[in-house]
């Protein structure tokens, strides 16, 4: 059997099947169970090695031929598959507690299958097509019946679609560069097209506007999932480009460009978050800041940078999922997510409010929380390279911290006579408590993710080597 059947086609088919399952809990149970099993098999099952299962012998082949092209999943991709499907299980299991299982899971599983296919497809550039197909599944995931498509969703579809032709055309130029590595004009053209494509794909300033708009328009848990899946796949795609093409990797301007864009996104994300009165928009700006930190880690172009690049993934996932879950609970039970409407809600929704603040503070890099050890590593590395760069990164984090303090101030501003109560359901309390504990746990013991981290950089053959 081919590895692609297990980790690409099976989740896509399962997603299609789950569209017809109407029970939210069963949908979540099947999807998170399948995702967990896929994560576990990615961790344990060897590819291209015969192994015994009872009396039968099995071998997972790495290659799957499709329409004259190949999907290739090797042992190098297995740690990232573990991370992706582990994260999917994490997102799916909490979704029925807020009534989002049926909207998130079927299309979410198909999107994950497509994004794994984007990691596996050869030639590598065709990933742009698969990412675009995944993008086109987002509107039905985010829009509920009777909801008008907002400007954020239209811009999301537009910007992500604009990226695809640019990246595909770069592929043609890259073939020319491979034939004649000294063709500086061709290299310049390819670099401009590629950079423009990734500016759209990664929502780099000033093409970031869909993120805060979308987070204001749609259900927070669903936007949180979109904000996790697309930047993650785009970042892996971008890092894959840097890894595969020597002319990009060795370009002297690359670290400067990546660090300048990264610092701009961190500073803009953090500083703009301070001035938001809508908590959904704050989440959006935190996502922009996170993408900036990933670009800053890539700008280091060494083994330490690649480690930080992957280290960012797990705390980001937990914080983003917890933040989105808590926001969704508040979104369903308050008139809006503006600071004005959320005044004093801590006394009615203590778990959701507490989880929201914890996740916010973790992404701001507060000590003892999961985001801190990685932020510290980035600040240290940046400071040795350039103090202004480190200062901008710190300013961005301080901006997000100030936004968290504003949120906290609004949530606790209850009249003195109001009483404490906890209106969250027991499953909601459980997931928030687990998320909060995970943030504290990873803050205190960041080495817990080292077994995964040690294997993740193998996906890149050259980067950081």
């Amino acid at each position: 059997m081919s590895a692609s059947i297990l980790w690409i086609f099976l989740p896509i088919l399962a997603g299609a099947f789950l569209l017809f399952l109407r029970n939210q809990r069963w949908t979540a149970f099947v999807a998170s169970g399948l995702s967990f099993v896929l994560a576990l098999t990615a961790w344990l099952l060897p590819i291209e090695t015969t192994f015994a299962l009872g009396s039968s012998a099995f071998k997972l082949s790495s290659t799957f031929e499709i329409l004259g092209r190949r999907l290739v999943l090797t042992t190098h991709e297995q740690p990232i598959l573990t991370l992706i499907y582990g994260a999917a299980a994490f997102w799916f299991i909490a979704s029925p507690s807020i009534g989002k299982a049926h909207r998130l899971i079927p299309l979410g599983l198909v999107q994950i299958g497509l994004l794994v296919a984007a990691l596996a497809v050869e030639p590598f550039l065709y990933a742009a097509l698969l990412i675009e197909v995944a993008v086109l599944l987002t509107p039905p995931l985010l829009l509920s019946e009777g909801e008008r498509p907002g400007r954020g969703l239209l811009r999301f579809v537009t910007f992500q679609t604009l990226a695809m032709p640019l990246i595909l055309f770069t592929g043609w130029l890259l073939r020319g560069i491979e034939a004649d590595p000294g063709a500086s004009a061709l290299i310049r053209q390819a670099a401009i097209l590629l950079a423009t494509g990734f500016v759209f794909l990664l929502a780099v300033f000033p093409f970031h506007t869909w993120i805060p708009l979308l987070s204001e328009e749609a259900a927070p848990y669903l936007t949180g999932f979109v904000f996790w899946i697309f930047p993650t796949s785009a970042l892996l795609f971008a890092a894959g480009f840097i890894d595969r093409y020597a002319w990009i990797r060795t370009a002297p301007q690359l670290p400067q460009i990546l660090s300048a864009v990264g610092a701009l996104m961190v500073a803009a994300g953090g500083l703009l978050a301070v001035f938001q009165n809508h908590l959904g928009r704050m989440l959006g700006y935190a996502v922009i800041l996170e993408t900036g930190f990933s670009l800053l880690s890539l700008s280091l172009l060494d083994a330490q940078g690649v480690d930080i690049f992957f280290l960012l993934f797990v705390p980001r996932l937990i914080a983003l999922a917890l933040w989105a879950l808590c926001l969704d609970i508040l979104h369903q039970n308050t008139p809006s997510l503006t600071l004005q409407d959320l005044r004093g809600q801590l006394r009615r929704w203590p778990f959701a409010s507490g989880g929201l603040i914890l996740a916010h503070l973790s992404l701001a890099g507060l000590p003892t929380l999961a985001g801190f050890p990685i932020r510290l590593a980035i600040w240290e590395d940046l400071a040795t390279l350039s103090l202004p760069l480190a200062a901008w990164a710190l300013i961005g984090s301080l901006g997000l911290l100030a936004a968290a303090i504003r949120t906290l101030a609004a949530l606790v501003a209850a009249p003195a006579e109001s009483t404490w109560e906890a209106r969250e359901s027991w499953p909601q309390r459980l997931f928030i408590a687990l998320g909060g504990l995970a943030l504290f746990g990873l803050g205190a013991f960041p080495q817990w993710i080292l077994p995964l981290l040690n294997r993740l950089p193998a996906i890149f053959e050259h980067l950081g080597g």
């Binding site: 092209r69 197909v133 498509p149 239209l154």
Partner: protein, 193 residues
């Protein structure tokens, strides 16, 4: 060669009409004509059967949106008089087409593709960008994206002939049309009680 120029002119005329007209029926008709012209330009590089995929998926995309709009009772025909801002839009398309023609000369030499094909492709992309840039209405944004991608596919067909890419592009064209139809339906449905 002459037929390629005619296809290019057809793209320009349909693109101008698509940009000027506010009536969805005319818009979809213009898009269908553009797909016909794009098919003709693609078949210069690809076998007829493979290039027919572009035509069929393009027309299916138009049909999917047309059926959605026709069944939406609240959708009016012409929302505005076409003369409203029409001169400005005509001027914008003329300017975009001229820019495309100027760029097409060097692009044609660079890519090794005949001039009318490059011009037709760049004109379509320019009209698509104009549509995307000057509206926030879902139908026109989706038509803009479809036009832009169809224009790109003409040039891309000359440099890439993979079956997987053809299939993925067809899927994306249909997917965009379905997203457009979904937007139109979602915007008109009453929220569930």
């Amino acid at each position: 060669m002459l037929l390629n120029w005619i296809a290019g002119i057809l793209i320009l005329a349909a693109g101008a009409w698509l940009f000027i007209s506010r009536d969805w029926r005319w818009n979809l008709g213009a898009a269908a004509i553009q797909y016909l012209a794009a098919f003709w330009l693609v078949q210069a590089s690809w076998p007829l059967a493979a290039s027919a995929v572009k035509l069929i998926t393009g027309w299916m995309a138009c049909a999917a949106m047309g059926i959605t709009l026709a069944s939406a009772k609240t959708e009016s025909g012409a929302e505005h008089d076409w003369r409203e801002g029409g001169l400005f839009r005509l001027f914008a398309v003329a300017l975009a087409s001229l820019t495309a023609f100027i760029l097409a000369g060097s692009a044609s030499a660079w890519l090794g593709i005949p001039l009318p094909i490059t011009w037709g492709s760049l004109t379509m992309m320019a009209v698509g960008l104009l549509l995307i840039g000057m509206t926030t209405r879902p139908l026109r944004v989706i038509l803009g994206l479809l036009t832009l991608l169809a224009g790109f596919e003409i040039i891309y067909a000359a440099i890439e002939s993979s079956a997987l890419v053809t299939a993925a592009q067809a899927l994306i064209t249909l997917g965009l049309a379905l997203v457009g139809a979904y937007f139109l339906v979602a915007a008109r449905e009453e929220p569930p009680q």
